[in-house]
């Protein structure tokens, strides 16, 4: 059972790499928009893309630093979503956001349980 966890994180790494690629394409589209049409500056997309890419590569190689960064990021987003949805999202839509928040927190469980298997 625990041997499946590293594979799970490798899969998440590939998903994160795809996400990074999408963000980079959006960044390029934004650069074009800025150059040609004086569009707004969405340059943080590049940093987010680089962060996702780096963590994604680390996850594919099952690095501890990557798992730690990934889990810290997802748990932060997850907790933020849960708390914030209770403050501002009207019921029953709160449930959707809480469910997504929990989903973001879930990777922390296998990460903690098989921490020693990461390099």
């Amino acid at each position: 059972m625990t041997s499946a966890h590293p594979t799970l994180f490798r899969g998440l790494g590939y998903i994160l790499l795809a996400f990074a690629a999408v963000l980079f394409l959006l960044f390029l589209a934004n650069v074009r928009s800025r150059l040609l049409y004086h569009g707004p500056n969405y340059s943080p997309l590049l940093w987010l893309s680089m962060y996702s890419g780096a963590v994604g590569v680390g996850l594919v190689y099952l690095r501890k630093w990557a798992v730690a960064l990934f889990v810290i990021s997802t748990v932060t987003i997850g907790v933020f979503m849960i708390v914030r949805s209770m403050i501002e999202t009207p019921f029953p839509w709160t449930l959707v956001n809480i469910a997504m928040g929990i989903l973001f927190c879930l990777p922390s469980i296998p990460a903690v349980r098989c921490w020693s298997q990461f390099r």
Binding site: L26, A29, H38, N41, L48, S85, E88, W93, V96
Partner: protein
């Protein structure tokens, strides 16, 4: 004829159509605005300053070039500000988008017109400084509709759900990173945004289904 706007921070005029800059001082920009014109004034400092004209049109916004404002009230009888109807700039923009949709399809039209990714045709509908547009299908945030439709036609709704939720979270992250004001942090919080998302779920959802010829005639005909 000329409204007067004062922006308390340094401003940079990016796009000017029919705008007469009366005087420009260090720290203060004053602009005389022809009410039939389309004005874009962008502050260069990251101050969270909102100055609203009495008619509700926002001339100088809080942050860099992330917010550009349409600085004139609707002159076509529509309220433009929260009520049913669109102002001149919105009518003009939507006519362009509808023509593009007719020629290239909804997804391509959305990409071409999106704020920040296309040529910004949708700018008069920027929900950062413009209320949702009241349409026959309910209040719509056209900029969000455009961004979600840019991901392609929805066959199951899953793709659009992902696009909306991920887009909203990234958007919130961008706003937090740049210190911009945020009205709602999470997806499904704002009712107009929920309605906008719901409109994108159908694979047959198009601009022309929302901004029907009848609606455009009622709200944009002079």
């Amino acid at each position: 004829m000329f409204g007067r706007a004062t922006c308390a921070i340094r401003c940079r005029v990016v796009t000017v159509r029919g705008l007469e800059v009366v005087s420009r001082q260090e720290g203060v920009l004053r602009a005389g605005v022809d009410q039939a014109s389309h004005v874009v004034v962008v502050p260069t400092l990251a101050h969270r300053t909102h100055r609203m004209r009495k008619d509700g049109a926002q001339l100088c916004d809080w942050k860099g070039n992330q917010n550009r404002s349409v600085g004139h009230p609707p002159s076509n009888g529509g309220t433009g500000i929260g009520g049913r109807g669109m102002n001149d700039a919105q009518c003009q923009a939507m006519n362009i988008v509808l023509n593009r949709e007719k020629r290239y399809g909804t997804t391509a039209a959305a990409w071409m017109s999106a704020i920040g990714f296309g040529d910004g045709t949708i700018q008069p509908f920027n929900s950062s400084n413009t209320p949702p547009t009241n349409t026959p299908v309910g209040p719509i945030k056209v900029d969000w509709y455009t961004n979600i439709q840019g991901t392609g036609p929805s066959l199951t709704g899953g793709g659009n759900f992902l696009a909306y939720t991920a887009g909203k979270l990234i958007w919130t992250g961008l706003r937090l990173a740049t210190g911009a004001p945020i009205t709602n942090y999470l997806p499904f919080t704002d009712s107009a945004e929920r309605n906008t998302f719901a409109q994108t779920l159908s694979p047959f959802s198009h601009y022309s289904n929302i901004f029907t010829p009848k609606f455009m005639k009622e709200n944009c005909a002079k």
